[in-house]
Symmetry: C2
Subunit: 780 residues, 2 copies
């Protein structure tokens, strides 16, 4: 029992469950890529982990080293819990509404994927027996990115005096949760008060951070609908602004308050400029009004679901989870606008609020094929940090650009270089996402302004990282691939193949944009060198075992003693030393298997089957990045039941809290992995050179369907047991392929084709205790 | 000009040179393995870096990690500058003797290798024109290990009032020198006062450390020889005890003070017990008296030089450096008695006072063949830490014992596991030293009490670290060899060969001591497994290039751009990131080359020549551990001129301050490397199975001679251009070999044999700017 009601278009939780609050605050978080608000109760308490975030707003702190080394990053960055504008406190005849006291006759909260709002309804009886109904609805606007709003209604069952306090509150105290390296290092009172102002129904607070030198402002305004005898007051000081309403509300009547919030931050702008910015946001929001904001939000989401919806018939809980995933990916990426998409989106402080390579390899494919403008903006963020990536490469003695393993502002923040700096594939991942975006959209403007430069500078990195060797071709030594249980190896296949694609993409971009190539001082010789390096790229293969080596020598390493590893010893990184994990055949997450997905064009079907079977037996999935990709390859080699299990694992990572850390925020890459499991897994979607499909239905389901956008055309694909139907939703005809057969789908003319039998899968087993849970839909 | 006069039996520095004090305090340090005193001036100032050390007395501090991991050591250890008893201040008519003021007409200091004392003579004129001669002589007793003493004489040239203050001083303020990872993290006022007492001429101070919970006591007593009218006083409080002498000394007369010092420390004993211990030491010292201490010291050193002296004719400076080296190695190891021999001995705070594997592989060979009891005691220290090594292996998921990369008390203190924990060869080095010691001494008592257990537990480590693989035999993956510019590699040849020897030594030990084997639960199957693993040990070889690979894949890595590396970019660890150093063919220090010395029995002469030439071209010698070993292999392959250059580099590391860090203490391993360069290099001494020699004279020299001890026999070997003479100094006949020919040397019957021509060396070059300085003796 997960606590959530199963509904196709919403996530609902009934009852209070104080212990679960820190989890539901993540799943009920609202965000638009710019502002993020955890799903805390209006009244602020009880609470799990409070959090309001502004994308890119962080505090800096020094990184400690027991033994330092040249080129180690010196400064870390941590996302800041900014001024909280969600707080609306209620006093009922002097008794504060606190759900831990009195009695809740009814209480439910619901995140609505179509309205884009979080609703709450509580029927509460105070310890002294006064009964009221509180209803609230909250949104973070997709259309007005600096704006959030709350509609708050109190209905007493008898004549009651009510007092409402609506706050802006900075520097909320947060309990520190140390000991788990995955938990963000919390910061105490990071905001220094600079300005506080209040008048009428409006207030503004401005603060700056101590070390990173960033400045933010938050503003609130209110609309009140009620009868006579109301007294209001407003006050602002340092870390608090408070609007107070006191009124006698007769039974059958109600107090209705709309609270508008405006947020802004800047590294450069002054307090007056920021104040003007947030007041302008508020003015716009009041002009639109609550109903207007609701309508805009709905329209935005209608458009999103038209291009992105996934339908599953036969597993209602999975249906819900997939829409939950898409909704949160949209929230993370929609309005980031040249800011990063953090690993947790803006749903919690996990990973210090850093963005990783997962954005490019998991989240951006979803956005590229559904909301391509959001993918473009995320890549523009990478482009905006190119100066830092060029500088980082130089410090490391390399040419081109080296993008960071983890960062908020683009500077490397990883204090452990074997798993950070050495994971150079992140630069290839950026290039992969760029090439994928350009191919999927034909966005020539982005190609010219950002894409070509990103491809060229990342290609240059590979040319300096790698070398042509008389032994065995173009080698890339001493780097770390995606699998975090292996580090600093030679010729990691994933890295080499992503580099190969990067080099070729750069050459193609220079051919498309010769003037940009000239600006970047790319010579014909340089392009030739890229092509030759790509051609000679080393791909280690173990002839004795008949499988590829994840990296040079991997298959000759000792096997991990899976049978001797107890279930509670997972995740292994918390109970085993890295040195022993690194030197054995134990894999945290898809690595070679990820390469067989994104560079599936260089492996034969036989190789994929042999490799998948070999690496499945050694992969423990201690990372949430893995299951989605394993689903894709399981489907490709014909293990559809296993693909379904992995799809479910990816999809339920957060709703079932599989890693016991959803309180720190949602796993965006895993949510994206669920989309990938459906579209690339069961849909068989690939984009190696043009868009192709190889759909197959998951066992036990009656139908799966998904939608996507490609070069401006919106396509719907529907899969049943024996056939698949391709239909143009809007836009031009689409050239694609169905199980290897080229097809053309014309608008108004759906194409239905039979699905061939799947290949016979190899014999597949997982390590002891690491078999994925067999997916059985509840009630089936 | 190094500042030192060239003398065969002493090191003398004339003049003050304030800027050089921090260096000469290291070279003039006195120690006996238990107490160490840097060569600070009697009056305490001017000074470089003050330091008084007690072997094993450290403070603990937490090790910080930006990103932690399972099994990371949590506590660091740093050697403590303990209560300073050297201080004797002088006031001449109220004017403090401070060499920075007034005028020094004469000033010289001399470390005497035969008397084992540091002498100082200063003729000083105070700013007001008063002229005195101060002479002092200082010793740290080899025979009474808790005792040091100073004989201090002041002779005025006119009638003068003199005041002498003789101190015990705790918590001297030390300037912090941050920024260089090689500099020890300094600790502020680490000693907490517990007890202070003074009476007559005697005083005692006791302190304990804040975190490590160690307790120490220092005591002083005085003998005063002078005329009438003397007033003395004594006083003790907290961090200071002071004995004051005020007296009018007529011209031509003198003030003579002998100061006796007693030191003790314990983790367990109480203040009264420690006080009793240091007072007993003082009583013994006073009973012996100054002249008695001098005589004991001289006798101890006479015996040492009889067994250990090296003679060089034709390079007087090298002659001095070699005796300097031997003297300091003796000081580091003589009376350690189950404490570690730190990397800097007790001459400075460098490396935090930690001991490393260099002790076993460089320092212990010297001691094993000269002062074997000291080698035994150092190995008994390792044995005393076996509990910690067993526990460490367990934390790391391994069997047997894993000795620490760096430690004072036996617990791992390295905060960077790729260059610490992963350097498992340290356990094989301990085993190597054990086997070497037993073979060289036939010490069956040690073998039974410690040796067999050390060999068995280290052998067990290899069996769990390595595995039999169908690809290529017994592999040891994911470990770090000696070369610190390469880390976490598969099948490092040095490690594999040291493990191979360890496994075989353990099997032999069990055969020698079946009852001990039984105690340790060694089964016949276990011994068979050791022997099979040793037999199948993987030794990577590059057929394309015809050389061994330092580790799997090494020779396929990119070459370092030596031509593009500027001279001031060395040492590379301070200007280049580890990630780039690790992945390229750049070597910090002898690794495979060290293997070709200590496991020279498994390489053919042709392989040695090819390997040496290959690795010479890629070795930058950023470590002081390298030159001595390179000298050995250069001599073996016939490059005698290069061997001489490397011998000189090792021998002058500290006297010429080649690494610009001698102020932190002397490089014990490099000093030992000089001995190794003479004895194993030019002497061709090997002990693979029995003792053998292959002597050859260095070009330009007229004669080299060395002495050593083997199974109780003391042997002298003399080398001239064309012949070598073997002579028994004391003890029984010795079976050995001369250039491959077995010989027997009988007492009283020296054997003189011709020296064959050296082999034709391969073509050898070093990286740009890393050619060793061509050794040309001064004045030649």
């Amino acid at each position: 029992m997960t606590g959530y009601d199963i509904e196709p278009w919403s996530l609902r939780w009934s009852g209070l469950s104080v212990a679960e609050l820190r989890r539901t605050e993540s799943t009920f978080a609202l965000a638009n890529g710019h502002i993020g608000m955890r799903g805390t109760l209006d009244e602020g308490e009880p609470r799990g982990l409070p959090g309001t975030y502004l994308n890119g707003f962080y505090e800096e702190h020094s990184l400690p080293y027991g033994e330092g080394g040249y080129g180690y990053p010196e400064a870390g960055q941590t996302i800041v819990n900014v001024t909280d504008g969600k707080v609306i406190r209620l006093l009922v005849e002097d008794e504060p509404l606190d759900m831990r006291y009195g009695r809740a006759h009814e209480h439910e909260r619901e995140l609505d994927f179509r309205t884009g709002t979080l609703r709450r309804r509580t029927v509460w009886e105070s310890p002294t027996g006064r009964r009221i109904t509180v209803s609230s609805e909250r949104l973070v606007s997709f259309t007005q990115r600096a704006v959030a709003a709350i509609h708050y209604v109190v209905e007493p069952e008898e004549d009651l005096q009510l007092v409402v306090q609506s706050d802006l509150l900075a520097n909320e105290p947060i309990e520190h949760r140390a000991g788990d390296p995955r938990v963000a290092a919390a910061l105490d009172a990071p905001l220094i008060a600079e300005f506080a102002w209040a008048e009428g129904t409006r207030a503004v607070l401005a603060h700056h951070t101590r070390h990173s030198g960033l400045r933010m402002a938050a503003a609130m305004d209110h609309e009140l609908v009620l009868g006579d005898g109301v007294r209001t007051g407003i006050h602002a000081e340092g870390d608090l602004a408070r609007f107070t309403v006191a009124v006698d509300v007769p039974a059958g009547s109600s107090l209705r308050l709309t609270k508008y919030l405006g947020y802004g931050w800047s590294a450069q702008r002054s307090v007056p400029a920021l104040r003007a910015q947030v007041e302008a946001a508020l003015a716009g929001a009041r002009q639109t009004g609550w109903e207007g904001l609701l309508a805009e939000q709905k329209a935005f989401l209608d458009d999103f679901w038209e291009v992105a919806d996934i339908e599953v018939t036969g597993d209602d809980e999975l249906q819900q989870a997939l829409r939950f995933a898409l909704f949160h990916i949209l929230q993370a990426g929609a309005r980031g606008e040249t800011r990063a998409i953090p690993g947790k989106g803006l749903t919690g402080p996990g990973y210090d609020g850093h963005a990783f390579w997962d954005t490019e390899m998991f989240v951006l494919p979803v956005l590229t094929y559904t909301v391509p403008d959001a993918a473009r903006d995320a890549l523009r963020w990478r482009h905006s940090t190119l100066d830092k990536a060029l500088e980082r490469a130089q410090v490391l003695g390399q040419k081109g650009s080296a993008f960071p393993w983890r960062s908020i502002n683009g500077a490397e923040c990883s204090a452990y270089w074997p798993a950070g700096t050495a994971a150079f594939h992140v630069s290839g991942d950026v290039a992969h996402a760029v090439a994928q975006y350009i191919a999927a959209t034909g966005d020539t403007e982005f190609d010219r302004e950002c894409g070509t430069e990103l491809l060229v500078q990342t290609a240059r990195l590979w040319m300096s990282l790698g070398h042509n060797d008389p032994h065995d071709g173009f080698r890339i030594d001493g780097v770390t691939g995606p699998d975090e249980y292996t580090a600093v190896v030679d010729n990691n296949i994933y890295t080499n193949l992503i580099a190969q694609k990067n080099l070729r993409s750069a050459a193609a971009a220079c051919e498309r944009n010769p003037d940009r190539a000239k600006d970047l001082a790319v010579s014909p010789d340089e392009v030739t060198a890229w092509q030759e390096a790509a051609e000679r790229m080393r791909i280690p293969y173990d002839k004795l075992l008949g499988v590829h080596e994840q990296a040079e020598g991997f298959t000759a390493h000792a096997e991990w003693d899976f049978d001797g590893t107890k279930p509670d010893e997972y995740p292994l990184l918390l109970t085993k030393p890295y040195f022993d994990l690194y030197r054995k055949q134990v894999i945290k997450q898809a690595d070679l298997v990820l390469a067989m997905h994104v560079r599936g064009d260089v492996f034969s079907a036989e190789e994929k089957a042999a490799n998948f079977a070999y690496y499945e037996a050694r992969t423990v999935r201690d990372s949430s990045l893995s299951a989605g990709t394993q689903s894709v390859l399981a489907a490709e080699v014909g293990e559809l039941r296993l693909a379904y299990d992995y799809l479910a694992e990816a999809a339920f990572t957060d709703l079932h809290d599989l890693h016991n850390n959803v309180h720190n925020g949602l796993h965006m890459a895993s949510l994206a992995g669920a989309w990938i499991g459906v579209v690339a897994g069961f849909g068989g979607m690939r984009d190696h050179s043009g868009l192709t499909f190889a759909p197959r239905l998951a066992p036990g389901l009656d139908r799966m369907a998904f939608r996507m956008s490609f070069q401006g055309t919106r396509l719907a694909v529907s899969i049943t047991r024996n056939e698949a139907t391709y239909r143009i939703v809007s836009g031009d005809a689409l050239h694609t392929a169905h199980h290897g057969e080229p097809i053309v789908v014309e608008p108004g003319n759906p194409v239905t084709l039979p699905i061939p039998d799947p290949p016979t899968p190899p014999e597949i087993r997982q390590p002891a205790n690491r078999v994925p849970r067999r997916r059985v839909p509840p009630g089936s």
